[in-house]
Symmetry: C2
Subunit: 255 residues, 2 copies
DNA sequence: GCAAAAGTGTTGAACATACACCCATGA
DNA sequence: TCATGGGTGTATGTTCAACACTTTTGC
């Protein structure tokens, strides 16, 4: 009978003490990416409290009792900057090395957010200051607090890889954009120039990547050039065929 | 001066009370995959305690204070079955919906493990019983406890996808194997037959996927056929070019 | 007109797919 | 000797990178 089992479950839950387990905190950290002035930027905050007081870190904080992980990530991010209505958000990974936070055992679930050209951050919350820093600075500049340099590196690798086989690049662009705008996203994130003519054809040949609005830009480019067609993001999320990264510059020797 | 800052950090940590935060438990769940008799199988345990007492679930449990997440996953798995010295293990994702466990707030970090033809599980630990169940059963059979059906589905999607562009398939095979063995892994995981001759050529053409041992199988196949070359897993982890899945058979109206 | 950017044509290389075929082995 | 599976040859079509070229705009 199910009633007996239900009674046992109810009894078990009533006697259950959540504090009996070793205290482990769960936080979210957010790698927020945007493109500002042709540079890929990541949102950083300067820590206002120990540990790592005064150092750069990723925005993040404790998960509250009633929210899910993605919700916590968006809440923490919204404390620092204004967000568009539906930014792209995805979970990256959980980081849980025992000594990654000196205060106590903390498992952090890292998330990645992409949005078009976000405004200057506010620096509210428990951060002393918030700023967009270019990934060039962060990737080879001074280290971030905790294991945030590793989290950022993982996020960038994931982002670079997902441009190849998903329509993620459109998350960096406004509702309407040109093929050259889209190429700019790929060139900025991958950090290398692409062949404009072939890129153009490839983008239009992937079904569902972009949809033609029928309109053109108001004027040509700043330094001349003809007016470009305007597109909006298409319905496809997975790209077939993929837009593969050109092979990394050969480290000498033939093949 | 750094001394002042260090003093402040030490003072802060001494006054820090880890129990001040809402109790959140962190667990690991493991999707262990192996191939037994030409079928892709996932390790399941029958729960010995409420909640979901008597139902199938994934092996898993609480993370201990001194171990990292991957270590916890391997420990939980080793309680149920014998493991090879270095099985392939990777983190899948964190699952943290507020109501996913009726006892308390539990964030679970799911992992995926692949190993060649593992033995029958022991069913130790806090499980009443452990067994290899085919993914066919699990994917469309009765539901698993908690959100474990979703976790399993995510793991299978990840595994199927990673066969395309990584050398993950060799994790299902012993140290030495034939091209046909490797093809068997792809066919089993993808659930569809592949063109033997073209697969053969493609595998050998991908640099670093397999390395020729120079030896042959002791005898031909069970139903005749010539002896096959033996290969071992090559140094490559990413595959260039990728071994893409053949296009899915056209969706005939419903699914 | 000239430079710059959008967009098209074309070609040879790389790659995928299909089919034919030979080779070696078990029964 | 025949069925079975391992392994190779080759034809055909598709995708891709490179380069040349035309079109349209700002200055």
């Amino acid at each position: 009978m199910e009633t007996e089992r239900e009674r046992r479950e109810a009894e078990f839950l009533a006697a259950y003490d959540p504090r009996a387990f070793a205290p482990v905190a769960v936080t979210v950290d957010v790698v927020a990416l945007t493109i500002r002035g042709g540079e890929l930027c990541v949102l950083c905050v300067r820590r206002a409290e120990p540990p790592f007081e005064g150092e750069w870190a990723l925005p993040g904080g404790f998960v509250r009792e009633d929210e899910d992980l993605a919700g916590a990530a968006l809440r923490e991010l919204a404390e620092e900057t204004d967000l568009p209505p539906t930014p792209h958000l995805e979970q990256l990974a959980a980081y849980g090395a025992p000594e990654r936070d000196p205060r106590m055992r903390v498992v952090s679930v890292a998330h990645m957010v992409m949005a078009p050209d976000l405004p200057e951050p506010r620096g509210g919350g428990d951060a002393a200051e918030a700023a967009w820093r270019t990934v060039a600075e962060v990737e080879q500049g001074e280290a971030l607090a905790f294991d945030h340099a590793r989290i950022t590196a993982d996020a960038l690798e994931r982002a670079r890889s997902k441009l190849e086989y998903t329509s993620l690049a459109t998350a960096f662009l406004p509702a309407e954009f040109t093929v050259a705008d889209l190429r700019g996203v790929y060139e900025t994130v991958w950090g290398r120039p692409l062949h404009a003519a072939n890129f153009h054809r490839k983008v239009l040949s992937v079904p569902g990547l972009v949809t033609d609005t029928g309109r053109l830009t108001e004027s040509g480019g700043a330094r001349g050039g003809r007016r470009a067609r305007l597109y909006s993001a298409g319905p496809a999320t997975a790209l077939h065929p993929a837009l593969l990264r050109p092979a990394a510059p050969e480290p000498r020797s033939g093949r």
